[in-house]
Amino acid sequence: MSDAAITVGRGKDTEAEEAQRAIGEKAYGFWIYLMSDAIIFALLFATFAVMSHNTADGLGGHTLFRLPHTIAQTMLLLASSATFGFASIAIAAGQCRRTLAWLSATFLLGLGFVAMEISEFYGMVAAGTGPSRSGFLSAFFTLVATHGTQVSVGLVGIVLLGCEVALRGLNPYVASRLYRLGLFWYFLVMVWIGIFSVVYLPRIL
C-alpha cells in the first residue's frame, strides 16, 4: 500500500474535508457489504444446486418454469440497469430533473420485475407447487425471493432518494447515497443473470 493512500490527519480538519472522506469510506464499506451479500447468494445458489433434484415426486422446473415469462423479467431488469446508468450520468452532470426522470423509469421497470415475480409465485402456490411442496421448491422460492426482496428494498430506496433529490437537489450526500444505491442495483442485476442461467435456463432448454 502506498503512502498516498494514507490520508489521515493533516492536523486541521474542515467539515467539507471530513465529509468528503466519509463519503469515500462509505463507498468502500458498501463494496465490502456487497461482498458479504454475494456470499449469502453464493450459499443459496449452492443450496439450490444441492437440492435441485429433490422434487419429492412433485413437479420439476421443466414443467413449472415458462421461458417467455422469465425472458420478459430479465429484459425488464436489464433495461432498468441501463436507465440507472443514465440516471448516474445525470447525477454526475448535476441535472435534477433528468435524474428524477431516469430514476422514475428505473423504478417502473423494477416494479414490473417484482410484479411479474409475484405473479409467477402466486401461480405456482395456487397450483399446489408452493415452497412447502419439496426441497427443490423450497430452495427455488428462497433463492429467487431473496433476490426479489432485495430488489424491493432497492425500489424503496429509489423512492426515498427520489424524494430527497426533488426536495433538496443533488448535494454531495444525496449523490453519494445514489451512487451506493446504483452499486446495489447493478449487483442485483448480476445476481439475476446468475439466477436466470443456473435456475431457469437449464430447466427450460
Binding site: 471530513e18 465529509a19 464499506g29 443450496t47 437440492m51 415452497p131 426441497g135 448535494n171
Partner: protein
C-alpha cells in the same frame, strides 16, 4: 392477539426454572431501581447509551460480556453438578431442562460473552493503535452494539417467558425441526443468532474500513501492531463466515415457520446441507474468537519482555495464513457423518496444517521472551498460562483432526478439547487484554493482588475441570448426557465439579478485583496514560483518552511507533498550535434500533404478527432517521482541545515520578533492580 403466547409460558412447571426466572427479573429490576435511585438515567443516556465514541461503546461491549459470562457460568455449574450426582438417578434436572442449559451455556458463551468481549477490546484499542480519531462508521458501531445486546436479551428472556432451545448450540436438524422441537425454544435460538449475527457482520465491515482507511500518516500495513492485524483478519473472517451462519439459521427458520423442506427428513430435505453451512461458519468462528486473543498475547509479551516482538513479519503472515487455511477444514467437525473416504481424506490432510502457523506464533512469543526482561504482571501470567495450556489443546486438536481416530468425536474428549481452545486460548487472552488495557480505558489500574488470585484459581480450575473430561473421553463417555449408569465415570465427574468451583472462585476474584480497584482508584491512577511502558500508539493518548484520542495525529515510521517516539524523546512534546476537532454527535437511533429488533425478534418467536410489524417498522424508522440525514457532527474548538491537553500534561508531570516508583514495586517483585 398474542400469537402462541399464553400464561403457560411462565415457568410455573419447575421450581428451579422459576428461581432462575426470578433472579433474572429481579436482577433487571434491581439495576433499574439503582439507576433511578442514583438519578443517573440522564447521565447514562447522554454519556453512554447514545454515545458514538468507540471507547465507550467498547466498554459497554465488555460490560455486556462480563454480565453474560456470569449467566453462562451458572449454566456450566448446573451441568457439572448434575453430572456429578446423576449416576443411576435422575439428578436434580429433568432431561429437557438439562439440554436447555447445555444449549444456552454454549450459545451465551460463544455469541454473548466471547464475541462482545473481543469486539469490545477492538473498540477500545484498535482506533488508538492506528492513530485514528474515530471509527469509520460510528453510528453503525452503535447499531452493532445494540443488536448484540438485543440478541443477548432474547436469550435471557427465554428463561422467563417460554423455554430455550434444547437442540444444542449447533441446532442440528432434524431434531431442531418443528416436528421434533415444536416449542419456541429453537425459534429463540434462531432470532438471537440472526439479530446478533447481523451485528457481527456490521462490525466486520466497520473495522475493515477503519483499519484500511484511517491509519495514521506513515503507518503502512506492515507497521501495524499485531492486535490490529488480528482485528483486520478477524474482520475479514466475520465478513466471509457470518453469511453462512445467517443462511443456515434463516433456512432452518423457513422450515419451521413455513413448512419448507431444507433440512427435514422427508420431502426432499437434506440434513447434511445444514451441517455443512453451519460449520462453514463454525470453524472460522473458532478463530474469530482465537485470533484477537493471539493479538493480545503478542502485545502483552512484547510489552512485558521490554523487547520488540521476535519475528514480527512471521507473526503477521501466520495471523493472515490462519484465515485462509480455515475455509478448507470445516468438514473435520463431522468426519463421522458419512462423507465419502476421499472427502474425509482431503479434509483430514488440510486440518492439521492449521497447526503450522499456530506453532509459528507460539515460537515467536517464546523467542520474544528469551533474553527479555520478563515482568510477571497479571496479563503476562495469563499469557504464560495460555502458552503452556494451549499446546495441550493444540495437540489434542491434531488428534481429533485425524479422521481414522474419529471415534472420539462426540465424546467428552471433544468437550475438553474445545474448552481447552476457548478458555486458555480465547478467554485468557480477553482477560489479559482486560487487565492490560483497563487503565487505558478507565484511568486507573486493576489491583494486581486480586488479579493474581483470579489467574491461579482459573488455571487450576481449568485443569481440574477438563483433564477428567479428556480421560472420560478415552473411557467412552459421550458428551451431553444428563444421566449415566457407569460407576467408573463418577469420580472423574466429581473432580470436574471441583474444577468448576475453582473457576467460580476465579470469577469471584475478578469481581472483587473490580470493586476493590474502583474503591482505590485514586491510589491506582495512571494519568500519564502509559502505565506499562508500552510500545504501541494506544499508550500515547491520555488515560482515559480524550474523545478525539489524538490532539495531533502521530507520524509513524516503523513498528512499535510509541516506543520509537519515546526513544527519540518525542513523547512529551506538545503541539504548538491546536486545531478544531470535528466529531460525530451522539445518536439515540442505535438504542432504538436495538430495542426494536428485540421487539421484532420476540414477536417473531411467539408469532405475534402485529407486534412484529411494529418492531419491523421501528427498525426501519430508526435506520431512516440516521441514514437519510447528513452526518451530524459538532466542532470541538481549538481552545477547548488546548485546555484538555494542558490539564493532561500538568497531571502527567506530577504523576510520572510517582508511577515509576509504583511500577518497580508492583510489577517486578522478583526482578532485581
Amino acid at each position: 392477539m398474542l400469537g402462541k403466547l399464553t400464561i403457560d409460558a411462565l415457568p410455573f412447571y419447575s421450581g428451579i426454572v422459576m428461581g432462575g426466572a426470578l433472579i433474572t427479573v429481579f436482577g433487571a429490576l434491581a439495576v433499574v431501581a439503582l439507576i433511578t435511585w442514583l438519578r443517573q438515567w440522564r447521565y447514562l443516556w447522554t454519556e453512554w447509551l447514545t454515545s458514538l465514541d468507540h471507547k465507550k461503546i467498547g466498554i459497554m461491549y465488555v460490560t455486556l460480556a462480563l454480565i453474560m459470562l456470569v449467566r453462562g457460568f451458572i449454566d456450566a455449574m448446573m451441568m457439572r453438578i448434575q453430572q456429578a450426582v446423576a449416576l443411576d438417578s435422575h439428578g436434580y434436572l429433568s432431561a429437557d431442562h438439562f439440554h436447555q442449559i447445555y444449549t444456552s451455556h454454549a450459545t451465551i458463551m460463544v455469541f454473548f460473552v466471547a464475541m462482545p468481549f473481543l469486539v469490545g477490546l477492538f473498540n477500545v484499542v484498535v482506533p488508538q493503535q492506528i492513530g485514528a480519531r474515530r471509527m469509520a462508521f460510528p453510528f453503525m458501531n452503535s447499531v452493532s452494539l445494540w443488536l448484540t445486546g438485543s440478541g443477548a436479551a432474547l436469550v435471557l428472556i427465554s428463561l422467563v417467558i417460554g423455554k430455550f432451545s434444547a437442540a444444542g448450540w449447533s441446532a442440528y436438524p432434524p431434531y431442531s425441526e418443528a416436528a421434533f422441537s415444536p416449542g419456541v425454544g429453537v425459534d429463540y435460538w434462531i432470532w438471537a443468532i440472526l439479530v446478533s449475527g447481523v451485528g457481527s457482520m456490521l462490525i466486520g465491515i466497520n473495522f475493515l474500513v477503519t483499519i484500511v482507511k484511517r491509519r495514521a500518516p506513515g503507518m503502512r500495513l506492515m507497521m501495524m501492531p499485531l492486535f490490529t492485524w488480528a482485528a483486520l483478519c478477524t474482520s475479514i473472517l466475520m465478513l466471509f463466515a457470518f453469511p453462512a451462519l445467517i443462511v443456515a439459521a434463516a433456512l432452518l427458520g423457513l422450515d419451521r415457520y413455513f413448512g419448507m423442506h431444507f433440512f427435514t427428513n422427508g420431502d426432499g430435505g437434506n440434513i447434511m446441507n445444514y451441517i455443512n453451512l453451519f460449520w462453514m461458519w463454525g470453524h472460522p468462528e473458532i478463530y474469530i474468537l482465537l485470533l484477537p486473543a493471539f493479538g493480545v498475547y503478542s502485545e502483552v509479551v512484547a510489552t512485558f519482555s521490554g523487547k520488540q516482538l521476535f519475528g514480527y513479519e512471521s507473526l503477521v503472515y501466520a495471523t493472515a495464513a490462519i484465515p485462509v487455511l480455515l475455509f478448507g477444514v470445516w468438514l473435520h467437525h463431522f468426519f463421522t457423518m458419512g462423507a465419502s473416504p476421499d472427502v474425509n481424506a482431503f479434509f483430514g490432510r488440510i486440518a492439521p496444517l492449521v497447526a503450522v502457523p499456530t506453532g509459528v506464533t507460539i515460537f515467536d512469543w517464546l523467542f520474544t521472551m528469551y533474553r527479555g526482561r520478563v515482568q510477571y504482571s497479571v496479563p503476562m501470567l495469563f499469557t504464560l498460562g495460555f502458552i503452556v495450556t494451549f499446546i495441550i489443546g493444540g495437540m489434542t486438536g491434531v488428534l481429533l483432526a485425524v479422521a481414522p481416530v474419529a471415534v472420539m468425536h462426540n465424546t467428552t474428549f471433544l468437550v475438553a478439547h474445545f474448552h481447552n481452545m476457548m478458555i486458555p486460548g480465547a478467554l485468557f487472552g480477553y482477560l489479559a487484554g482486560y487487565q492490560y488495557w483497563f487503565p487505558k480505558a478507565s484511568g486507573f489500574r486493576l489491583a494486581e493482588h486480586w488479579g493474581r488470585w483470579a489467574f491461579w484459581a482459573l488455571i487450576v480450575g481449568f485443569y481440574l475441570a477438563f483433564v477428567p473430561l479428556y480421560i472420560l473421553g478415552f473411557m467412552g463417555m459421550p458428551q451431553r448426557v444428563e444421566r449415566y449408569y457407569v460407576a467408573d465415570w463418577q469420580p472423574y465427574l466429581i473432580v470436574a465439579e471441583f474444577g468448576a468451583l475453582f473457576i467460580l472462585c476465579g470469577i469471584s476474584f475478578l469481581a472483587i478485583q473490580l470493586v476493590v480497584s474502583i474503591r482505590d482508584r485514586a491510589a491506582l491512577a495512571v494519568s500519564t496514560g502509559d502505565p506499562w511502558n508500552g510500545r504501541t500508539l494506544e499508550w500515547a493518548t491520555a488515560s482515559p483518552p480524550a474523545v478525539y484520542n489524538f490532539a495531533v495525529a502521530p507520524h509513524v515510521h516503523g513498528i512499535d511507533a510509541w516506543w520509537a517516539m519515546k526513544q527519540a524523546g518525542r513523547s512529551g512534546n506538545r503541539a504548538i498550535r491546536f486545531h478544531d476537532m470535528i466529531m460525530p454527535d451522539n445518536s439515540s437511533a442505535g438504542v432504538v434500533l436495538g430495542a426494536m429488533s428485540f421487539v421484532f425478534g420476540f414477536a417473531m418467536v411467539w408469532q405475534i404478527w402485529w407486534l412484529a410489524a411494529v418492531g419491523g417498522l421501528g427498525i426501519f424508522a430508526a435506520m431512516l432517521s440516521q441514514t437519510l440525514r447528513d452526518p451530524a457532527v459538532h466542532r470541538i474548538p481549538a481552545s477547548e482541545v488546548e485546555a484538555i491537553e494542558n490539564r493532561r500534561s500538568s497531571a502527567t508531570e506530577v504523576e510520572a515520578i510517582e508511577n515509576r516508583r509504583i511500577q518497580v514495586h508492583t510489577l517486578a517483585p522478583g526482578v532485581p533492580t
